[in-house]
Symmetry: C2
Subunit: 343 residues, 2 copies
DNA sequence: CAGGGCCTTGACAACGTTGTCCAGGCCCTA
DNA sequence: TAGGGCCTGGACAACGTTGTCAAGGCCCTG
């Protein structure tokens, strides 16, 4: 009795192993392995005996051991910023579909926008020996991944580029999208336009601001410092910013919102506002059509799919230089962006 | 040369192992293990030499091997229905937070509402020897998990109960929530109320229908067959159902929508409708406040948190009988549910 | 200075699987 | 019927880590 469980604490609840199956079926260990993996060289009768034993014992192969032996895990990791953000749901889902099509499992985790936690998570995934890694960066220094990449972990960044290392990235055209959105407002007669964005050290945030400035400059319009508000996407901060922009002596007549979280809060804030204020937001949001919110839509699923496909191409041996892929955005005019300036 | 890589195909890109670190630091293998795991009994000087070697070689412990040896993976799996559904984002996020607090990693995957895929995914996670499993069921027969549960995989079901096995479940009060919502409509004068729900074999869907019937019966109101529409949440089907309910000879004056997907489509459909129609939806949706949609809100994060906490209690050795936890819902009155019947 | 005890260190086996390689049995042909 | 080749099956090592246990060095006490 005591002999059958010398290390009682470190068994997987005493699950049967291939050895147990082999004993029960009266065959060798390797024969069980062959049956489980569908390898050739087993007579139908032997196979039947093995399958019976597997069934009876409730055997399930231990993939940890398999991974250790084979060196490939058929697992990829996805580090994202916040699973609860509706933008990342479809992205994550798209990555999963591609992974599944390649017979791989997806492990994902959120960094909660904390660079340190991003690193911790990415390295934990590497310790599990994921074959590849897709990262939506929170931080702006990814040199910590260099040894991993050198050691063969395929890595692709999405939504934002990697910081301080040369790596694949799949991005939306934040600059172009924002420029188009602001140009759209200008085309509808606005000259004083406010920009409310996320923290400036976030790459997409900075690019969108750059797009805003470019559109204004292209139209020969000045940008006053107080028209630009950057910071957290916290609803309190954003609604304060909206109030300030609209109650200034010369208030803006239109707003550009830097991402989905900001747009939602701006829409709420504008609902209480007496004068009509034009609005274009970056990112589509659910029910925006009903609310008549004009947005610059990016295709989250396409971002995920493109990144994942690139990852698996690398895993399949492609040896291209790291590249940056930029996906276009679409302006969806729904009313809020076509409102003319209030008199 | 050929000797250092006898199995070239099955190395992790030739990553250094503890043996390599030990050789480089001039110490024994076990000493490296001790340093890496922060075990006591290593002199500061030895530790420093080991850490230097780790740094130089870029060593990272192989957790696959560790798992194999220790028998615990510090990983839990989450099988959900559709990551792209905004309801599951916060749920998944909450599970992740709890897992993180317990030092565990979360692997999750979507079943895409396909029972077969749910099973495939759950068993794949078991093969990875996750310590525990949280499942949002797609199917209604979970006997396939019996061997796993017997073998020690802690398992908790969320949002819907397990089918044909006795297991922990954390649910929202679908019956009570729907009953309250319908009673709310009745209290505002409605007597002909339609119910548009998801497929009837989904547990929550059936419970909500039951709640609807109960409220009607409590009020002594009849329920005509044509008032109840069950099926997929496909927008086409749902908007057809809305049209039929509103164009019947004696049309309903209010609608109860069985879940968030249905509610969104109903809101869209009602936007085009001339007569005001009252609406209460199950599940809160983003921006519902702005649209004035009255809903029965469930707390997705609380569902996830409760389930995860229960899971970890089991993993920590708690040996309670499987139980069902039901969380309450909240009616959020925002206007659409308080519209009186059109004359 | 001898003996005992503690502290540090390392050798070794084991976790469950798969790749390699060899043995034995069968069938076919000459 | 003998010999050769093919097919099936199994013994064994290895993957990288951790638990066990014992050896050696040091310090302290008597």
């Amino acid at each position: 009795m005591a002999d059958t469980a010398r290390h009682p604490e470190n068994r997987y609840g005493n699950r049967p192993t291939m050895k147990d199956v082999a004993a029960r079926a009266g065959v060798g260990l390797k024969t069980v392995s062959r049956v489980v993996n569908g390898e050739p060289g087993v007579t139908p009768d032997t196979e039947r005996r093995v399958r019976e034993a597997i069934e009876i014992l409730g055997f399930r192969r231990n993939d940890s051991a398999r991974v250790l032996r084979k060196g490939r895990t058929a697992t990829v990791g996805l580090v994202l910023e916040d699973l609860a953000d509706p933008f990342y749901g479809p992205l994550s889902r798209a990555v999963e579909e591609v992974a599944r099509a390649h017979g791989a499992l997806l492990i994902n985790g959120s960094s909660a926008e904390d660079p340190e936690r991003e690193q911790e998570l990415a390295l934990a995934l590497c310790a599990r020996r994921v074959d590849g890694l897709i990262v939506i960066p929170s931080g702006d220094d990814h040199r910590y991944l260099e040894p991993e990449i050198r050691a063969g972990v395929a890595t692709v960044f999405v939504d934002r580029p990697a910081g301080r290392i040369d790596a694949d990235a799949v991005l939306s055209d934040s600059f172009g999208g924002a420029r188009d959105g602001v140009a759209h407002l200008i085309a509808h007669g606005h000259r004083r336009i406010g920009f409310i964005g996320d923290r400036p050290r976030i790459h997409t945030s900075a690019e969108r601001l750059r797009g805003y400035r470019a559109a204004m400059e292209d139209a020969g319009l000045p940008v006053r410092d107080e028209w630009v508000s950057l910071g957290s996407t916290d609803p309190g901060r954003v609604s304060t910013a909206v109030r300030e922009l609209l109650t200034a002596p010369e208030p803006v007549t239109a707003l550009f919102a830097g991402n989905n979280r900001v747009t939602v809060t701006v829409v709420r804030a504008l609902a209480d506002h007496p004068r009509p204020v034009a609005l274009v937001g970056f990112d589509d949001i659910e029910l925006a059509d009903l609310l008549g919110v004009t947005v610059i839509a990016q295709d989250a699923a396409a971002l995920g799919r493109t990144a994942a496909e690139r990852l698996f191409r690398r895993l399949d041996g492609a040896d291209e230089a790291p590249a940056r892929v930029v996906l276009g955005t679409t302006l969806l005019a729904r009313g809020s962006g076509e409102t003319p300036p209030a008199a």
